[in-house]
């Protein structure tokens, strides 16, 4: 198979973004919007064949494409997807489409730049998921900071400058160390091919240092406790679309990094230090879950909930028993990544819908919204339930599998992790109760209008995704299975000489 569709998935959004950017000022805002929609739609359509033509029985790379890029340094433009990455390319293209619709009327200033930033970022993120060359990965991974930095900084809230710079420097800190790690691996293997790194023998010290470098890059991105502090700031200040992409996609890129780099390249160190990751993940799940309980700002609450859910994901990645990763836990974690992509995007969109009307994110400023916005309240209910991990919604599948896997490894870890089901329900539903139910709290709420057609469309699409994945997760888990098995083999090997 060729890499055509994958190439298109990367470059269609980027080219579309440049075209949108060329429409210039706000006089042609409508042109920019429609062009952006067309670009996002095209980007999504070209990513669909990646699923329909995906060979479920193969654990190897598919849709591969490779051509020399920097010949002197042996850097190749080498892309391809396997079961670990293909879902995220599609999820990303899907989310971008929603983001474009979500920002349709809400963004009134510099529309072209806003839309272009998202489209270009979408292409870059696809590139990062598809890259099979370390430097190519790094280029995409870093370059996407630029549009995100601008999105938070230009269209964000009052403390956007602080949040955007913090976001940028935090993520840059992690990735620069990874760059050194890549160059070190290049020295060992003479190539920047990621797949070559899976086979190179490495001593324990080298593996441990590599793991530290990868930890900084990807733990910051996930984010894992204690390097999570940029996320609440970035989420709170980012515009709705920015929050959606951040939560749904860029966090996943961090988790994906562990699967693609840390586990297969440093398997011995990963096994040796898995307890560190497990401990940090449990802190994220339990402690951050509690932190979410006491938030008075809805966006912050969902941001902390994201950290807590991502803690679940990293927990699933490091469930070693007798030197073997637990299959359920890994499959569950990947499923959780996808479902969290839908659910968190939906949650942020719901908050955005209310924010656009009332211009407040404080829970205390709401109450009784259900009286004025019944349709919205029902959708929000569904997403809140999914966020809490209710069976039948997307959120349940992954959490269930991870707990199932964890219980086979260590009962107490599973026990601690399972508390998220309580905390998740507590903070989400309590917020829901305070915002949606009760008497109409004030005149702002009294003036609320229910969702318009555009918002309904986004909510409906997300609702279908959330319910669909919850009721029939097989299409999502089947894709990953072979690659997960392969990953388990790689993570079980020893690279020590």
């Amino acid at each position: 198979m060729t890499g055509n569709f994958l190439n298109l998935a990367i470059w269609v959004p980027i080219v579309a973004g440049l075209i949108v950017l060329a429409t210039g000022g706000d006089r042609r805002a409508d042109t920019a919007r429609w062009l952006a929609l067309a670009g996002a739609l095209a980007g999504f359509l070209v990513s669909i064949p990646l699923y329909t033509q995906f060979d479920l029985l193969s654990a190897g790379m598919q849709f591969e494409f490779s051509t020399p890029w920097v010949t002197d340094y042996n850097i190749n433009y080498h892309i391809g997807v396997d079961g670990l990455s293909v879902l995220f390319v599609i999820l990303n293209s899907f989310t971008t489409l929603l983001v474009v619709i979500a920002g349709w009327e809400v963004i009134k200033e510099r529309v072209a730049q806003y839309m272009a930033a998202f489209l270009i970022m979408s292409g870059l993120i696809n590139g990062a998921f598809a890259a099979l060359d370390a430097i190519l990965f790094y280029v995409f991974f870093e370059a996407m900071l630029i549009p995100m930095y601008l999105i938070i900084g230009v269209w964000g809230g009052p403390r956007r400058v602080y949040a955007s710079i913090k976001f940028f420097l935090y993520t840059l800190m992690g990735s620069l160390l990874t760059l050194v790690a890549f160059i070190y691996l290049y020295r060992q293997t003479g190539s920047f091919e990621i797949l070559d790194y899976y086979r190179v023998p490495l001593g324990m010290t080298a593996q441990a240092l590599l793991l530290v470098a990868f930890f900084f890059a990807f733990a910051v991105k996930v984010p894992m406790w204690p390097v999570h502090t940029w996320l609440p700031d970035a989420h709170v200040e980012a515009p709705t679309g920015g929050s959606m992409v951040l939560a749904a996609i860029t966090l996943k890129l961090g988790a994906y990094g562990f699967l693609r780099f840390a586990l297969p390249i440093a398997p011995d160190a990963s096994r040796e230090y898995a307890w560190v990751f497990v401990a940090l993940s449990l802190v994220a799940v339990v402690y951050i879950g509690m932190v979410a309980l006491v938030q008075s700002d809805m966006k912050k609450l969902v941001a902390y909930s994201s950290i807590s859910h991502m803690g679940f994901v990293t927990l699933g990645f490091f469930m070693f028993a007798n030197g073997m990763l637990n299959q359920y836990a890994v499959v569950g974690a990947i499923a959780l990544m996808v479902s969290h992509g839908f659910v968190s995007a939906a949650m942020f969109f719901c908050i955005g819908v209310m924010y656009d009307r009332v211009h407040s994110r404080k829970i205390a400023d709401y109450g009784g919204v259900a009286n004025k916005m019944p349709i919205f309240a029902s959708f929000f209910m569904l997403f809140a339930m999914a966020n809490a991990g209710l069976p039948g919604t997307a959120g349940f599948v992954g959490e269930f599998f991870v707990v199932l896997g964890a219980i086979q490894v260590n009962f107490w870890v599973a026990f601690a992790a399972a508390t998220t089901l309580i905390f998740g329900a507590a903070y989400t539903l309590w917020m829901y109760k305070r915002v949606i139910f009760g008497e109409v709290a004030n005149e702002h709420v009294a003036e609320l209008q229910d969702v318009n057609k555009r918002e309904f469309l986004v909510l409906a699409i997300l609702a279908i995704a959330v319910l669909g994945m919850g009721l029939y997760p097989k299409p999502f888990t089947d894709v990953t299975l072979q690659s997960v098995n392969h990953l388990i083999e790689l993570a079980a090997q020893t690279k020590l000489q």
């Binding site: 710079i165 160059i183 020295r187």
Partner: protein
């Protein structure tokens, strides 16, 4: 080829430039002040022809390499050599100087310094650089360096009434003279230790153990000190911020761009060729200078409100990176440093070009705040400045990333992983102040009424092309990287024959 013969044709580019500069000097006497454009165009023509001659010389060198002969063509009894490194460097220098004149023409007209002296002195400074690039004798090296320096001292003082410029010129002159003194003293000691002034002769006597070790060590220390001054490396950097701030912007650009290439070749000849045997020793000295430059340059730049001072400190930190490449003292390190120098010239020229674009008669764009809200006033040039800043910060997909990557690669290949980590740690700090400029342009509102940008079409087009080149080279760096490393390899091989 008899190396002791005159062989003057080898130096055609310099001879042509010298004659043309003299002709322009005389010709300009007959051009009235209002018609200096004629001199300007004539100067550009001379630069273009010099570039063509350098390219021809490069092609001759490559043809020699293909036929298996030595690429080094000596002239004037081994005082002068034309080899691929020198030719490449000359092309880069001519380009750097041409950009100074093109971007600075409007700026100089507004400030009444578009005089004949500007053109002739600039040409003479270029001649000095070119002589430096081709010198294989300590005396030629020194003469080239002094021709460059003296021309620039006079140029900085060109706005005669301006106190700041005179002060800058004075500081530059005093410290520059001190540095030249150190260098000359060091060279005289090297002569005393080895009995020769010829670069290759010195190298061969050292390899035959025919030298006085104490004298040679002292000489080496003095030479490194002089080089530190000329490059502006910490702790010999004190002149850099003051000169950048005080000099008219086009001369700050002249000081900050092309001479860095000359300095690179200068170090290559003096340390890399003459003192090749002592690589580990001077390499260590350069490492200290480099680390100090990275630390101080990046930290001090954060505190700057004046963007010219900020760029000065940023230059210091970039020189730190360049020195790291040189400190590796093998052809990989030299190629990396060469690439760094060339791309740095392109980047810095664009940065100063935008500063001059935003300046106008009676208004000097020199504070970071002068960029406030540039995205509102001129989205296109805000985007261009964004590219320059991200390229300087080393973020992909801009060329600055590959410059840093090549140096890091050379460091890791030479087992200096810790140095690579130090270097990336400080580029993280460096990212902060570049981000601040982007923040000011994109996130802040413009202050008061700012007039539209008044620049002629040629400047706009060339400046845009210059900035886009950063992106193009960042996406397709392969050609330039391999050409420069080939040049370094051929030059090293040519010398050995």
């Amino acid at each position: 080829m008899n190396p002791s013969s005159l062989n003057a044709w080898v130096a055609t580019p310099e001879i042509f430039l010298l004659c043309s500069a003299c002709i322009i000097l005389i010709f300009d006497l007959f051009v009235s002040d209002s018609r200096k454009q004629v001199t300007y165009l004539l100067t550009l023509l001379v630069l273009a022809l010099t570039a063509v001659l350098s390219i021809q010389s490069l092609q001759q060198g490559l043809a020699l390499a293909e036929s298996g002969a030595s690429v080094a063509r000596f002239a004037f009894s081994n005082m002068y050599v034309a080899d691929p490194v020198a030719d490449f460097a000359k092309i880069g220098m001519v380009l750097g100087v041409a950009l100074v004149l093109v971007y600075g023409r409007g700026y100089a007209t507004d400030r009444g310094i578009l005089k004949g002296e500007l053109f002739t002195l600039t040409l003479f400074s270029l001649l000095g650089m070119m002589v430096m690039a081709s010198a294989t004798n300590f005396l030629t090296l020194y003469v080239g360096l002094e021709l460059l320096s003296l021309s620039i001292y006079a140029l900085v003082a060109l706005p005669r009434g301006a106190v700041k410029a005179s002060e800058a010129s004075m500081k530059y002159f005093v410290l520059g003279a001190l540095a030249s003194g150190m260098l000359l003293y060091g060279m005289s000691m090297l002569y005393g230790a080895t009995g020769s002034l010829d670069v290759h002769e010195v190298a061969s006597r050292i390899s035959q153990q025919q030298y006085n070790p104490i004298l040679l060590t002292f000489g080496m220390v003095f030479v490194v000190t002089g080089i530190g001054f000329k490059l502006g490396a910490v702790p010999f950097h004190m002149w850099v911020p003051d000169v950048y701030e005080g000099a008219p912007t086009l001369l700050a650009q002249l000081i900050g761009s092309a001479p860095k290439i000359a300095a690179f070749v200068f170090v290559l000849r003096l340390l890399g060729q003459a003192l090749e045997q002592f690589g580990p020793i001077w390499g260590e000295m350069l490492i200290y200078l480099a680390i100090a430059s990275l630390v101080l340059g990046n930290l001090a730049a954060i505190a700057q409100k004046n963007i010219k001072r900020m760029l000065a400190y940023s230059t210091i930190s970039h020189m730190g990176f360049l020195l790291l490449g040189l400190a590796v003292h093998n052809s990989q390190g030299y190629s990396a440093a060469f690439f760094y120098a060339i791309t740095y010239v392109v980047t810095t020229a664009a940065g100063f070009g935008i500063l001059m674009l935003l300046s106008r008669s009676g208004f000097e764009c020199e504070n970071v705040d002068d960029f406030k809200g540039l995205n509102k006033r001129s989205p296109w040039f805000a985007l261009m400045m964004l590219m320059v800043m991200f390229s300087m910060a080393g973020i992909p997909a801009f060329v600055g990333f590959f410059a840093k990557l090549s140096v890091l690669r050379a460091l890791v290949a030479a087992d200096a992983v810790w140095l690579a980590v130090v270097a990336v740690a400080f580029s993280l700090i460096g990212a902060f102040y570049y981000l601040r400029v982007v923040k000011v342009m994109y996130f802040d509102e413009p202050e008061g009424e700012q007039p539209a940008i008044a620049a002629s079409a040629d400047v706009r087009v060339l400046l845009s092309a210059n900035c886009l080149l950063l992106l193009v080279l960042g996406i397709f760096p392969s050609q330039l990287l391999s050409s420069l490393s080939l040049a370094v390899k051929l030059t090293a091989a040519g010398v050995m024959l």
